[in-house]
Amino acid sequence: MNIVTPAAPAQIDAGQVAMHSRGYWTTVLQRLGRDRVTLFFASIVLIIIASALMADVLAPLDPHKASMIKRLKPVGTPGHILGTDETGRDMLSRLLFGGRLSLFMGITPVLAALLIGGALGIIAGFVGGITNMLIMRTMDVFYAFPSVLLAIAISGALGAGIFNAILSLTLVFIPPLARVAESVTTQVRNLDYVEAARASGAKAGTIIRVHVLANVLGAIFIYATSLISVSIILASGLSFLGLGVKPPEPEWGLMLNTLRQAIYVNPVLAALPGVMIFVTSLSFNLVSDGLRSAMDIRM
């Protein structure tokens, strides 16, 4: 559940940058097409996302509808394919709706941090000087906390709730994304042809748009995809501790927590939310790995 510090920042050499053209993307797609593992897990990710988005349609029953008579039915019960939870609610429906919240809580912070951290990093890298120092040294302070500690400390202070959990995770992910963006931007900025563009009088905005963004986005995007897996585990960890989603909303981490007591009655049932978190996180990780090697970006 840790963020791997990009000890050696993303390395991009001039040759690689120059390759970022139509030919490069064709190569990337060709590589992906040959990588069956990545394709397989990418399809799992797509299935999980699609089923969460379409939970309303797919869920056989109301995920909130409780019935004590039907509580803790095992997997395979007619009418409840994946059984029922501790208050008799349909597990399949809850897992589908739970996926929606878990993915939302896992992906939103990374997207938000990608925007904020990416922007901060690009500004710091492009402008340099005092701006760079101010931004990056502030990031360093956040970096002085292990990620889990920071997430739990912030949500612990703010109190339980989806919004607070997303806020705390966003704050956790901004510094590493800013750092990657900054280091790649600095490298790109110093490349000969960017220097040349600058010398020829191109506006800063144009340089950022044409040269920097084109080269930086790939790197931070890949890095961000590797954070989604971390984020999903952290978010469900917060819910597990009681700092995330509020009941009765289904969320995998919270379901794991409340079903913990049923582990003696129906261990398979109690394990299901954990399996979902594991599979989702694993798939995101492998897809991120696959994309990275296809795009030939080293972290």
Binding site: H64, K65, A66, S67, M68, I69, R71, L72, E86, T87, G159, A160, G242, K246, P247, P248, T258, R260, Q261, A262, I263, Y264, V265
Partner: protein, 535 residues
Amino acid sequence: MKIRALRNYFAAVSLAALACSSVTPALAQGTLRIGMTANDVPLTWGQPDNGFEGYRFVGLTIYDALINWDLTTSDKPSGLIPGLAESWSVDEADKTKWTFKLRKGVKFHDGSEFDADAVVFNFEKLFDAKSPQYNARQGSLVNFRMPGYQGVKKIDKYTVEFTTKEPDSFFPFQICYFLIASPAQWAKTKDWNKFAQEPSGTGPFKLEKLAARERAEFVPFKEHWDKSRVPKLDKLILLPLPDPSARTAALLSGQVDWIEAPAPDAIPRIKSQGMTVVSNVYPHVWPWHFSRVEGSPWNDIRVRKAANLAVDRAGIVQLLGGFGVPATGHVVKGSPWYGTPKFEIKTDVSAAKKLMAEAGYGPGKPLKVKMTISASGSGQMLPLQMNEYIQQNLKEVGIDVEYKVVEWQALLDIWRAGAKAPQAEGTHGVNVSYTTQDPFSAFTRFLRSDVHAPKGVNFGFYADPAMDALLKEAQVTFDAKGRDAVLAKVHTKEVDDALFLWVVHDVAPRAMSPKVKGFVQSQNWFQSLSGVFIQ
């Protein structure tokens, strides 16, 4: 309820596993290890925190009060018996004066003697900010249990006289919460924090070792004044294990001998391993406490009644693994205070729907209410699951509940601050479980119109002159039978006006290893460990 030891076919499997497993290390004969629900060892300096679990394991083990609860029987509600006072009486002429005759020859753990000075010392510690031993924190933990306290004075070495602000027949019940610590031990350091490390009381157990958040170890106090309460155990170890599944795992893997409140779903498994699960009714109620400030939807009696009729209490008892009693009022049927309410609390969805329709709500026009609940807490049972189920029940009759889940201490803070406080955020009620052990705790503190925040915990600012008159009458009725009759009227009115949403009474399940013998579970929040031994 009887002690049941059920075994099913799992027993053979787990016993076989037990036989070939590495054995748990041998302990000194007669060491009892208890897994508590609290997340820390309760404060040991006199007045404990952590609610009544604190009193149960740390308060009444190390200390005695002037009057004690009789914890020796399991078949009837506990009564009051002499503790450090041998007798007490109210002045017939001036009913605000109480004389307590103290027990002679009682020694504290440090060897010093208990006398009238010790009593005065302990009450000044709590109520007199000018005394050197004053401790605001300890005062905050207990003083609210006796808002009528005026003062105490020594008459002679073994007699003290208390005065109350107004005549108060509940006084003997309330004095049970005030524990007597040794002045001589305090004088050694003049620091209550240091006292907490080496406390000294007159109770049956002496604290031997205290490690915050980890454990407390006790040895028997052989010189206890009541020979029948000298513990049979060699050692008592308390371990804070707040998570129910972790407690259960600790019991099943042989790391503790006794756990409080096992996870209900794990109880069959616990029994299958040859463990005993005991339970007994005790004065507990799990209610919703309504806000009655202006604008609260609960101001409409039809809505309050509809909610009481909508809840499927049998279903909730099922969720609790059978360890609960459906509530039909604030106290259980059979209590001398139950009375004869006309409003029968049961599940009747159609009657509830009818009441809601009369109140102007229906399927197309649901009533929206906001409630504040906790995710855990002592006496809260399974708050999340139970409230989620109630939410479903109420939805069926047209009440849409929105919960704000806060942690246990935050909930107590909101509760104490009252429904009008900013931190209550306009909530329409709280879910806090209550004791109904004594008349003040059961009724007065919630129903008297003048004990709202900041003076007391009438959370909802409920006010009814007729109720005030009844409570006053009970307070000044000094004969026990007469008082019970008045309290029965209070309860009758309380139920007929549906002042709370009553759900269940807990039966305090405890699970213990078959080696634990001699435990008698009294019908009380507090329990005696003196007779317990390990075999």
